[in-house]
Amino acid sequence: MVDVFIMGKRYTVPETLTILDSMEYAGYQMTRGCGCRAGFCGACATVYRMAGGYELLVGLACQTKVEDGMYLAQIPFFPGRKAQFDLEEIKPSVAHFAQLYPEVYRCLGCSSCNKVCPQDIDVMQYIAYIQRGDFEKAADLSFDCLMCGLCVSRCPANIVHYNAALTARRLYSRYIANPDRFLAERAQAIENGELDAEIDKLVKADKDKLQELYNNREIEK
């Protein structure tokens, strides 16, 4: 067992638990601060400090084991701004981006964001790529972002990194990555009803026939 201090109150909990489990063990019914429970949704951003230490540490509550002497609190909500846009009206250009997220260009280069990212993303670098209009690199580098908001909580320039990154990825995917040409053809063929006959035959087939077709279907290597 270890002692943890949840919002200053001491609780004794088994040491195999994650921070999230430990809060439940202590009696909390989780609403905010808990989503996927598996490191995908970013709901559980947590700030903590070890007894005797001065440094503020951060982590995802569902992905961090408890340690003896943790003082912890969760960030229930972060009022980060999201720019509203019509993807069809904007282009992957610095000019357009600057209208949506002008604060991105005020990055001080302090790297506070990098220090807190629980996904170990080089946040400052993707912000630099955005500044330069290199949306492809920004998209690639920011891809694993869970939008937990910890970067925003530390940024002296008030950048909302995760929203800027998402916009960069959508711009890249919409305008820079090539569209899949065959996909467009296939979609068109379906809309024209060209593939109806083949499938309707199967929809009407009886179970024995389907089972036989299924058992003998060819499997791509």
């Binding site: 489990d21 439940e24 949704c41 709901a43 998402l166 995917s173 979609a187 379906i190």
Partner: protein
């Protein structure tokens, strides 16, 4: 290195046999072998875990006990009075209940036709099973593939118990859905010329699994969410629906929402209602761990059922063969099927493969249960449970070093956080409760059996029969989410203002519970799981 000395010793057997396993395919099971292992080991076939429910439109239907418990229960608002004639807190054309992938798709589609939409969701918008899907999304959009080929896989995988019209809608809309997502700026894995990179999944006959690294669901969810917010659609978070409201003709006309923070109830009036509340893994059927998010508590099924909506295949649950088993912090966590898709194979305590690594999930899970329960060849863990190995380092041998980092970054990171390097060390896995195959019965318009009530996503049933293939759920939530949104919006235009709002269906449901004694003082929907002092 978090494996104990005993486990490290056992791991050597895996290493010893590894080189002899490279490039050797374990034989697939015959149809008879598949049936046999399912009947003997799949939890769906073990009648002890089920009971027939005594109330409602599917009276007599078989359900897992934990699900029957929330169906045979009284409403949370039984003793409360609501003035349903007063001005409601929300008054909209279409009410979408649930902010996952199905709900977001429905909202976008309904909004695009001019309907006024409200999304009410239990946790944050996007805190949902959709966010967690890693493996991919299927669609027949390659020259060697057609929707008909996809259809056959869906039906065969579903043991031919699917509603054929629903499976048809699923596969025919699939390329349209991928195109819709591509146009919305979803970052799929592509070649330079734009061609989608696709692979196999359990039960696929063509390589039609589209991915966004191993954050496929997250990428889809955050894109949809961003678009919903771009459109200015009203989303209220931490406001689960706890009952459906009907109009004087017994048609759906809104819902009672519960603000988790102020603990107040609010009335949402709507011309049409869409249930998109997802799955039920947090009911922990048969005590299994689950891969599902915190809010997967079957709420939508319960409130839909009370309002008179029929269910289908409520007794059919998907256990994913590869749930995390060790270290304990990873218990239940999904190890994406892509791990097997890339060539990792399950092995017993002797380092021997005992099942083809890409059987359908039900068969693969049953084979793992057999290996542990019948053959006694599971790996004993310090936590008191058993598991089997999943030989992830094989991936690096087959596809080259760096593959795991490139293709499975989420998996790599999650195990690394708890000191296991899956590039070098095999994983320890055991089946985890993953997916609700059945749900509220819908037709191919996503309409339930109650008028003006639609359902989409994991809350709906019939599409996948009694076994869903990987990559068909992310697909189904968008296919039927969009259909629900479109049709609910169209229907809402036929209705002026819903009249005679009431909750009388609860009275008759309670009466049935009283008469049968089935309720036993229980209250539902569950809304939040209870894990305090487990």
């Amino acid at each position: 290195m978090v494996y104990t000395p005993q486990l490290t010793e056992l791991m050597k057997k895996v290493e010893e046999t590894r080189s002899s396993r490279v490039g050797v395919d374990f034989p697939r099971m015959t149809q008879e072998e598949r049936r046999d292992v399912l009947e003997k080991f799949h939890p769906d076939y073990n009648l002890e875990g089920f009971r027939e429910i005594k109330v409602g439109v599917n009276k007599g239907a078989r359900m897992p006990i934990e699900m029957a418990d929330v169906f045979e229960a009284y409403s949370r608002i039984r003793d409360l009075e609501f003035d349903l004639k007063a001005d409601p807190h929300y008054d909209v054309d279409v009410l979408v209940i649930g902010g996952g992938g199905a709900g977001a798709s429905a909202a976008l589609e309904a909004h695009s036709t001019g309907a006024v939409v409200l999304v009410a969701t239990k946790l944050r918008f996007g805190d949902a099973n959709t966010m967690m899907a890693q493996g991919g999304i299927q669609a027949a959009d390659k020259p060697n593939d057609t929707p008909a080929t996809h259809f056959l896989d869906v039906m065969g995988g579903g043991r031919l118990e699917n509603v054929p019209e629903l499976a048809r809608a699923l596969v025919m809309d699939a390329p349209l859905v991928i195109k819709w997502l591509e146009d919305m700026g979803t970052m799929f894995d592509k070649k330079d010329d734009g061609t989608m990179i696709t692979g196999h999944g359990g039960g696929t006959s063509r390589k039609r699994m589209h991915t966004a690294r191993d954050y496929t669901g997250a990428e889809i969810m955050r894109t949809l969410r961003d678009e919903v917010l771009n459109k200015g659609i009203n989303v209220v978070e931490f406001s689960p629906a706890v009952e459906i409201i009907l109009d004087e003709q017994g048609r759906a006309a809104g819902a009672v929402l519960y603000n988790l923070e102020t603990e107040q109830y609010e009335i949402a009036r709507a011309k049409t209602v869409i249930i998109a509340t997802g799955g039920s893994g947090r009911l922990h059927y048969r005590g299994f761990p689950t891969s599902n998010h915190h809010g997967a508590t079957a709420d939508g099924l319960v409130l839909g059922y009370r309002a008179g909506a029929k269910t289908i295949y409520a007794d059919s649950i998907q256990y994913h063969p590869t749930g995390g088993a060790y270290p304990p912090q990873l218990l239940g966590l999904l190890v994406t099927e892509k791990t097997r898709g890339l060539g990792a194979t399950p092995l017993n305590i002797n380092g021997e493969q005992f099942v083809y690594h890409l059987e359908t999930r039900d068969v693969e899970s049953s084979a793992i249960l057999r290996e542990c329960e019948e053959r006694g060849l599971g790996v004993p863990l310090p936590t008191g449970i058993e598991a089997v190995w999943l030989d992830s380092p094989l991936i690096e041998i087959i596809h080259g070093e760096g593959t795991i980092e490139r293709q499975l970054p989420a998996m790599l990171r999650q195990f690394q956080r708890f000191d296991v390097d899956i590039r070098k060390e095999p994983m320890l896995i055991f089946p985890t409760l993953h997916y609700q195959n059945g749900g509220l019965l819908i037709d191919d318009d996503a309409h339930s059996t109650v008028e003006n009530l639609y359902a989409a996503g994991e809350a709906a049933g019939g599409i996948h029969g009694t076994n869903r293939l990987m990559g068909n759920s992310l697909l189904d939530i968008i296919v039927f989410g969009r259909r629900a949104g479109r049709n609910a919006a169209a229907k809402s235009r036929e209705i002026a203002v819903p009249d005679g709002l009431n909750l009388e269906h609860l009275d008759s449901y309670h009466q049935e519970l009283d008469n049968t004694g089935a309720g036993d003082g229980r209250i539902s929907p569950m809304v939040l799981p209870h894990y305090t002092h487990r």
